[in-house]
């Protein structure tokens, strides 16, 4: 994840790319987060002005969705599924063990900044549960050993 403070040119470039769409706000927020790792404070005013909405409205949208973050996160994001199909095969214990091992709560980031752990409700891998996703890479039938490998790869 990139955590540098974006320049106003970078922000304007992204805005120019998506502002013409019907309902451009979610695509813009995704593009900002993909580029900067979160929705930077510096982008709020330009987005609000480009779409002619108030900053309060913008904040309302950002805070509604679980995906959007207002603060930087770790270099990698590990999502662990908490939904029913994963629970049916030990997903809860796996998640608890992982958080305990890292000394984190949900949404927490390891001290070295390597990994942020987030809950997710279903990855569509319900026939090979428990499931997790490291950045964009999906993993099924995760047990403690497999989780350790993932965490090691991510540098946790």
């Amino acid at each position: 994840m990139n955590e540098t403070v974006p320049t106003s040119e970078e922000i304007d470039t992204l805005l120019a790319e998506y502002s013409h769409l019907e309902g451009p706000l979610l695509p813009i927020l995704h593009a900002m987060q993909d580029s900067f790792g979160h929705i930077p404070e510096a982008a709020h005013r330009p987005i609000a002005e480009a779409l002619n909405i108030s900053r309060a409205e913008l904040h309302g949208v950002i805070s509604f969705y679980h995906d959007f973050r207002e603060n930087p996160v770790g270099r990698h994001v590990l999502k662990i599924c908490r939904a029913e199909a994963c629970q049916a095969v030990g997903g809860t214990a796996l998640a608890e063990a992982t958080l305990a091992k890292l000394g984190l709560d949900w949404h927490g980031t390891t001290i070295n900044g390597a990994v942020t752990v987030e809950p997710v409700y279903c990855l569509g891998l319900c026939a090979c549960a428990p499931a997790a996703m490291l950045d964009d890479r999906v993993v099924g039938r995760v047990d403690n050993a497999r989780m350790d490998t993932l965490l090691a790869e991510a540098g946790a």
């Binding site: 019907e22 309902g23 451009p24 509604f64 995906d67 199909a85 629970q87 095969v89 569509g124 999906v138």
Partner: protein, 506 residues
């Protein structure tokens, strides 16, 4: 030598990328000329990664394959050999209409798609007028596969008859229910089917623009769908002049942002417009005032992806499958603690017991089955005593269940149903859009009440029952309105899990 290794995300999650890489390396080392096709999954997830080797036009399966199996597979002498894939019991017992091509073709090859019946439906629709297209869908008996089971033809007719300078087709690919992955599987395994279905819908109702609202939790499906749209555009399937018909249809893939409630159609439309995903009161119906206030068809992925086969084979052909008012096929997703999980497409009417015990071969843990949650987080927990229930919309409703998007999550006897009920309330609290008090506040109270019951306070049980009544009656949408279903079914069928410690000791 033609070899298939799925690129479906369930196969990837089980190591398909490493297996594919090992096949390339091993073939090179042996000097064997291979064509490696990345197909979708056949749906037998317990056999993934399922490698298929084509010999004299017949595809032989090997699975679940590991990197260590690759040398033997290429030598034609592997302990993981399954024989011809089409002859496997799981494949032979299905009626694959919507999923006919999934796992068979290269998902991103339009010529493969056409060689397997693709675009035949769209060609036929081009020869019909809008009213004729809508009539065909009505005759097929197709009902929405997203959960509510609303007749698709009636919805399309409303949009067809509505006046508006611009109409839209919006595909609901938010698939948030745990235990469901049919939408994902078809988008990754046969994306042109969805594109073709949306184009037919567009011609039918007079919409020239379509959006797929695809959840962000599916990065692989997003990539495949985006690429497929580009290919379809390049080939003139999409654009200003669909297959030379003189009629236009364009479409775009939009990504959700991790809110379960955005699967509810009006919340989805708000989200697509760039607003908070708050549920809208109905009326107005989205069919009349939908995206940007204009007439809009909102349909689930499977509903739309089933349209091409209806036009290819005819409405009557499709309607001849099924049970009662549930016509055609149901795309069952068998998941959770089950030995053989995956996707199984069959005519409506198969019993829950046959699906879980026979197809699924019972639990993965080998322990007895305790319950099956059918229909996602808002569906009921069904005990083994109700396994004779036939899977159809009305039939399951009569047993106090909900078919929903046809996902089945199996639990073994280690499951604590009080904890599952608590999770249902917690999930509702986390995902509530916040519009109605019974949902927003009620779900939080529900968690607290269940915690009291867990601590041995039996007097809290009637409170829970009352709370569920309030949520059921006072919620605008099915998130608040149906969360009582898993909670009350757990309480009704598994009272021992809710017994106070004193009672349990007695």
């Amino acid at each position: 030598m033609k070899i298939y290794v799925p690129m479906d995300s369930a196969a990837k999650a089980l190591g398909a990328e490493d297996v594919a890489a090992a096949i390339r390396t091993e073939a090179k080392a042996r000097g064997i000329e291979i064509e490696l096709v990345r197909n979708g999954t056949r749906g037998m997830i317990w056999l993934e990664p399922l490698v298929e080797v084509e010999i004299d036009g017949v595809r032989h399966g090997y699975g679940p394959a590991t990197v260590g199996d690759v040398a033997d597979i290429l030598a034609g002498d592997s302990a993981k050999a399954l024989g011809p894939v089409e002859k496997l019991d799981w494949m032979k017992r299905q009626t694959r209409l919507t999923f006919a091509r999934v796992g068979v073709i290269n998902p991103l090859s339009l010529s493969d798609y056409e060689a397997h019946g693709g675009l035949a439906g769209l060609w036929r629709a081009i020869g019909m007028d809008g009213a004729g297209i809508v009539e065909e869908v009505t005759k097929s008996g197709l009902r929405g596969r997203g959960g509510a089971g609303f007749p698709t033809g009636i919805k399309w007719k409303t949009v067809h008859d509505a006046a508006g300078p611009q109409k839209y087709i919006v595909c609901n690919a938010d698939e948030g229910d745990s235990g469901t992955f049919a939408d994902r599987m078809i988008m990754e395994g046969d994306p042109f089917t969805l594109i073709e279905g949306m184009a037919i819908a567009g011609l039918g109702v007079g919409a020239t623009k379509g959006y797929v609202y695809l959840r962000s939790e599916y990065p692989d499906a997003i990539r495949v769908m985006r690429r497929a749209v580009e290919i379809a555009r390049g080939a003139g399937v999409l654009g200003a002049d669909v297959l030379g018909s003189g009629r236009a249809f364009e479409m775009e893939i939009r990504v959700g942002a991790g809110a379960y409630v955005c699967g509810e159609e009006t919340s989805l439309l708000n989200s697509l417009e760039g607003k908070r995903g708050v549920v809208r009161a109905k009326p107005p119906l989205p069919a009349l005032e939908g995206f940007l206030g204009r007439p809009t068809v909102v349909n689930n992925v499977i509903s739309l992806a089933t349209v091409p086969v209806i036009f290819e084979k005819g409405a009557q052909y499709y309607a001849d499958f099924g049970l009662g008012r549930s016509r055609g096929t149901v795309t069952l997703q068998i998941a959770g603690n089950v030995a053989r999980g995956g996707l199984f497409e069959t005519a409506f009417g198969i019993s829950l017991g046959e699906v879980v015990n026979d197809l699924g071969s019972g639990t993965a843990s080998g322990r007895p089955v305790k319950a099956v949650q059918v229909g996602g987080p808002l569906g009921a927990y069904i005990p083994v005593s109700n396994f004779d229930a036939p899977l159809g919309y009305e039939e399951l409703d009569a047993k106090g269940g909900l078919l929903g998007h046809a996902g089945l999550v199996v639990f073994d006897d280690a499951a604590d149903m009080l904890q599952m009920a608590r999770f249902a309330m917690e999930f509702c609290a986390v995902e509530s859009c916040g519009k109605c008090t019974p949902c927003r506040i009620g779900a939080v109270r529900g968690v607290e009440t269940l915690d009291r019951i867990a601590e041995g306070d039996g007097a809290a049980i009637p409170l829970l029952t009352d709370l569920c009544e309030t949520m059921k009656d006072g919620s605008l949408c099915a998130l608040g309105g149906f969360t009582p279903l898993p909670v009350m079914s757990a309480l009704t069928h598994f009272p021992n899990d809710f017994a106070t410690q004193q009672e349990a000791a007695e």
